[in-house]
Symmetry: D2
Subunit: 238 residues, 4 copies
């Protein structure tokens, strides 16, 4: 059968499994987003609709890939951190990064209307991605600090921009200054359930259920506080 | 400044440039498309709207990345072949595959309505990708033959499916049997241009312009004929 | 000039730098050493001359590459651990492993006579190598424990072998049971130096100098004791 | 048993199989050979004993690894080319390059005396290696041309050196100008065998046997002639 004759080409695929016990970071960047922002009349220097859409798309990625323990984004970039012990897609770098890039991109178009209403999306946007590994908690935190510090540094250097738009950096909202951090949190929900009593009667009983949901923060992630408040994001003693 | 202290993390990124002078193939596969097809009531065993949308999305990718010399798809997968001498994104595998995955996915949602009309897209779909390198023309052609033969083989094996839907394999359209091949072709266009004559009068003059456009084929790409008809797809004598 | 025309081939070399902040382990294994041992009449199940030559060759490697913080060997294998922050050869895996393999092999032949005296070496032996990265201290210690435990396990399973040679496992020397661990240690040396006194007379004064030398141990490296006794081998808090 | 608890570290090893259907080149370079040459009083600018020892060591490598189809060396470097379809060591780059580096290095010490007689080898020398892949015959020939041209170019530029040693470049022997190329050749050997005739008598009969042996050349490998004379070195039509 024809199949067998050609199937040897399968062996040209090489294994790209990420080193074990390292955090796997996938970072996405918008392609030509300067132009995209202009064509879609984004407010300068920040457009809350665009930032909201980025965050919505990142939530969609986290919903699909539950081994992502934290995501951080600002402007037209978003970083997703897989837990160091993940075995998702056998840790294959190609699978992880393309799945993130794909899910993020389809979500960006899918949820566009929620944020931009009747303003049309003119063409399908592109995002590119990369994978970087971090062996220790310190390295990972420094990576996230780099993205947050880098963002603020380049923004502050841009004072002309701010003065031009008559904006005072310090009075800006946290969303603009700190970007968006997404993490999983357990939430207790109380629901009432109709249950049968020993005497055969029925009654409404309050039941507490725990659900994992994605929470967003617009706070400093460089200092210790955020990590002390959320000690379960990183794995310790590995 | 904070920036410098954290920036060392940049060096954890590793170089993933593809070996020179090899064809770079990026293949995308729909994630959980069996379920996706059911939820969106795709006609079995083939849905022309879905196949049309796949091809439309692949065209969008080719339009963005002109170094793709041929693309081949069937069902919920599409392969994109970059010319062996491409220097796009410095041949970085991560950039190439995430860009293809992202552009394809955002296009799939963007053009959904063109093919499915008022039937709503229920959620943003995902595609994953991989990169495979082929050193020679023979290896590349065998890869494409594998995808086309594999497709036909598994379909024929599925005779139960066909008989169940009361379809005779041989009388099926080429689109279903052969999948879709996209290549760049030069097309001559004749347009009329208003020009001034020596005597000062104006007249309409026909002008021929050559344009590169993406053409689609639903034919056999295993045999010699297709490649003899399109000798410029592959580079020779490298 | 001819040079420029061909020099493009240089770009086919790919970067193989090891991920930062991970321990880099190079392990060597003797090729066909079962046969080699027979041909050179090694004492069974252990030949002290052969073990001594392995250790001498490993010392030669450590002398050349000072970023190796610990080496462990038994039978015909030796593992070399580079400190996690080494920048030797820009962390290029190929350079690190070939240099270790080369230095070890040339040393094995060079020092043969020191251990085997007039018994001739019949042909040049071969060793092959590999590189493995370990992100944390725990992982690295588990690697070394694996090599030591594996060795003992396979040896104990070999009870027939021992009884055959009329050897009682427990009464064997530590060298045979525990293999050889090499680490750098500071040693104080007292030398006498002739110095001039304030009154113009000369006298011999004892002076203490500190030197780094390679020490060998034949002890358990699985438990805590060895690591508590030598807290500087591994880097902490990275 | 202890073994199982630690054995997970085995999974940190990553696959480094070379892309199929590419020539695999391992190049070795002497480490600090400038100093080594001085300490061992090598004749300048070429020492025939040293070149002979390099070639002897390369032959030893070829004898061990029969999938090497050609080797080329000059000065203190040697390149070994594995046939594109080799499956040796499952094409693992680490195994291939360390085995070459190891065998070459142990041979260098082993055969020292054959070339340097009573002049002692002062310490075990080191060689480092790398792996480079070439997808086509053109690329591979350009690699070999690069090494040969590069060698001649840098030597000619060194006219001062030559005039200093009172040597005229053109009158130098081919060994110095062209380096050494090693290939496998079939050689017919005629041996006499004593056989019984039909009449019962015995007689000596000449018998021709074919043997593969390594031949060395000191000729141009940039032009067509060498390759036309030896059409079987490279594989064609892959």
């Amino acid at each position: 059968m024809a199949k067998s004759k050609f199937e040897y080409v399968r062996n040209f695929e090489t294994d790209d499994a990420c080193l074990r016990n390292c955090y796997i970071v996938v970072r996405l960047d918008g392609r030509n987003f300067h132009k995209f922002a202009e064509q879609h009349k984004f407010t300068k220097p920040n457009d809350n609709r665009a930032l909201g859409l980025m965050t919505r798309s990142a939530r969609s990625v986290m919903g699909e890939l539950e081994d992502i323990v934290i995501a951080y984004g600002q402007s037209d970039e978003f970083s997703f951190v897989f837990k160091r012990t993940t075995t998702l897609f056998k840790r294959r770098a190609s699978k992880l990064m393309t799945h993130v890039a794909s899910q993020f991109s389809s979500s960006y178009v899918f949820y566009w209307k929620e944020f931009f209403g009747e303003q049309p999306l003119l063409y399908p946007p592109g995002f590119d991605g990369r994978v970087v590994l971090y062996p220790t908690n310190r390295n990972l935190r420094d990576y996230l600090s780099w993205r947050q510090a880098d963002w603020n540094t380049s923004r502050r250097q841009n004072e002309i921009l701010f003065s031009q738009f008559d904006i005072n950096y310090n009075s800006e909202p946290a969303l603009h200054k700190k970007g968006t951090t997404l993490i999983w949190e357990k939430q207790d929900e109380t629901v009432t359930k109709r249950m049968k009593r020993p005497d055969g009667e029925e009654e409404d009983v309050p039941v507490t259920r725990s659900r994992r949901t994605v929470q967003d923060y617009h706070c400093d992630i460089i200092g210790e506080k955020f990590w002390e408040d959320h000690p379960d994001i990183l794995e310790h003693g590995c």
